[in-house]
């Protein structure tokens, strides 16, 4: 039972990491306030179900849309600001949105919000139900990102990540694609938020604080930015770490911080990223066994 609760949490992290990866990994845009959109999804769904009596199955897609629409705003900001300026502005957006949750009575202010578990064909959804739901959403998201990587859309994001001036010389409407990347990434974070709210049955503004954004970013970077496996494995690793390190809980943050520093110092492309130590050796081993061409599996 406990294992399932932890798995749902990790599933939510995976979704968040995958969605941030669209913005930061593929489109190359700094986004350090991703937790804000996680929060927007959570509060949207909480308010719709608790205050207005909508079903979870309606509030879920609405959370997707509301987060995505606010994400368009962030996309518009990204057109005007670049790199470090954008990075700090996204931190700022995170703080401002969390303050809004914390100080506005519409969002339960400092009391937080209580959320009901949804019904599913007349049955109250249990933890296993959430696990199935989040797994389905993750699979759809992965399929979608895989499709994106093979499409002109993915190539447009690659171009923008590398050089915006070149991208526009290839006929790519850089502004439009940036906004699309931001709204897609934030919308998926919104879905993660809605699931989180109903899974936890209680949400509070600090659940979506800046530190959470850094946590999500760390999952993406430690796992391997710009790949599908990287964010998934990164989220599993860092999501499970608090459970694994429980027996020396007192040193947890030191281990966590130390790991971040060591990773960045010696393996900045992530543990499972392209060209990383593990991926290289894995491919080598694979090659030795199957004598296959390397290029086929790097994709």
């Amino acid at each position: 039972m406990y294992l399932i609760v932890v798995s749902v949490n990790i599933g939510i992290f995976i979704l968040l990491a995958l969605s941030l990866n669209i913005i930061t990994g593929y489109a190359g845009q700094a986004a350090l306030g991703h937790a804000a959109f996680f929060g927007i999804g959570a509060y949207t769904s909480a308010i719709m179900t608790s205050n207005y009596g909508f079903s979870f199955w309606i509030s879920l897609p609405v959370a997707f849309m509301v987060s995505g629409i606010v994400g368009i705003g962030l996309g518009l900001i990204s057109i005007r600001m670049k790199d470090d300026f954008l990075a700090i502005t996204t931190i700022g957006v995170n703080f401002v949105i969390v303050a809004l949750f914390q100080y506005s009575s519409f969002f339960g202010a400092s009391l937080g919000m209580t959320v009901k578990k949804p019904m599913f064909f007349g049955m109250r959804m249990n933890t296993s139900g959430y696990l199935i739901l989040i797994t389905i959403i993750i699979i759809i998201t992965c399929y979608f990102i895989h499709k994106m990587n093979k499409s002109w859309f993915g190539l447009a994001l690659s171009s923008i990540r590398n050089d915006e001036m070149v991208a526009s010389s290839l006929g790519i409407d850089v502004n439009k694609y940036k906004i699309l990347a931001f709204s897609l990434g934030t919308a998926i974070a919104g879905i993660a938020g809605a699931v989180y709210a109903h899974h936890m049955t209680f949400i509070y503004s600090s659940d979506f604080a800046f530190t959470v954004s850094i946590g999500i970013l760390s999952m993406v970077v430690i796992g391997g930015i710009g790949t599908i496996r990287g964010p998934i494995l990164g989220a599993i690793l860092l999501g499970a770490a608090p459970e694994l390190f429980r027996f020396f809980a007192d040193y947890r943050m030191i281990v966590y911080g130390g790991l971040l520093v060591l990773m960045m110092r010696f393996q900045p492309q992530g543990i499972f990223g392209n060209d990383s130590f593990i991926t290289r050796n894995f491919i080598q081993a694979y090659k030795n066994i199957f004598k296959k061409k390397v290029g086929d599996i790097i994709e």
Partner: protein, 290 residues
Amino acid sequence: MLLQQLVNGIMIGSVYALTAMGATLIYGILRILDIANAAAYAVGAYLGWYIYTLTNNLFLAFFLAMILTGLIGVLVEKYIYLPIISKPNVITIVPLITSVGLFTLTGDLLRLIAGPNVKSLGVKLRIGVLQIGNLRINPEWIFIIILTALLFSILWFILNKTKLGLAWRATASDSEIAQAMGVNINVSMALSYILGYGFAASAGIMVGLLYNSIYPTMGDIPSYKMLAIIVLGGLGNPVGTVLAGLLIGLSETLVAAYIGSIMPRDVIAFLVLIIVLLVKPSGLISKKNA
């Protein structure tokens, strides 16, 4: 009462400027957003507290803590940041995440070493209260303002009147050209970290003195407020940082005094930041192409 609020705002603002100056100097040369600078702020405060309890000499504690923290800064630069940024094709987010890791690590290390509870400095300053009409300035503030002014003057002198400072400015404006002209950019980088971490330490001690409390998480709020200030100041521009620090200090004080607590005080910095950047995307004072 407006005068008192303005003076309060300027005083708070100058401490903010001091806090953010370290990160500014580091960004100026290495183009790293160094959140870990806020760890230096806490480390400096702890070192200051420790030396003060040993020697009972505030000035000694102050300067020794600054120098020691500055030296830690050089080690951090040499063994962590420099190898990271000298790798080819490094993603800009990598040094930032490193500094987040360093910040998390240090905060918790302080908690383990010195314990989670609040330490008090217990300094009694033998300076009177300054009272001009309705305007009242506490002795701690007088001490802080004098020291801040002194530190900024020293910084200005180093950057503008010494050979070291010339090399620093050359590296900041274009490191490749500076290198071609024979500037040793490694020295400039080290200078950034000595000064950067030293300044952060001095700010930490001052704030510890002001509120008479030093604790492991004291760097949390400065860590991101500092970022807002250095970005607002045009990233890597010392003069811009002073202006931005004052602007944030004044906005916070005035909003709290005249509009009330519609939002947490610490969010105001970011609201100001977002509004200013939307109007002027490269900060209050921007370097060309920076």
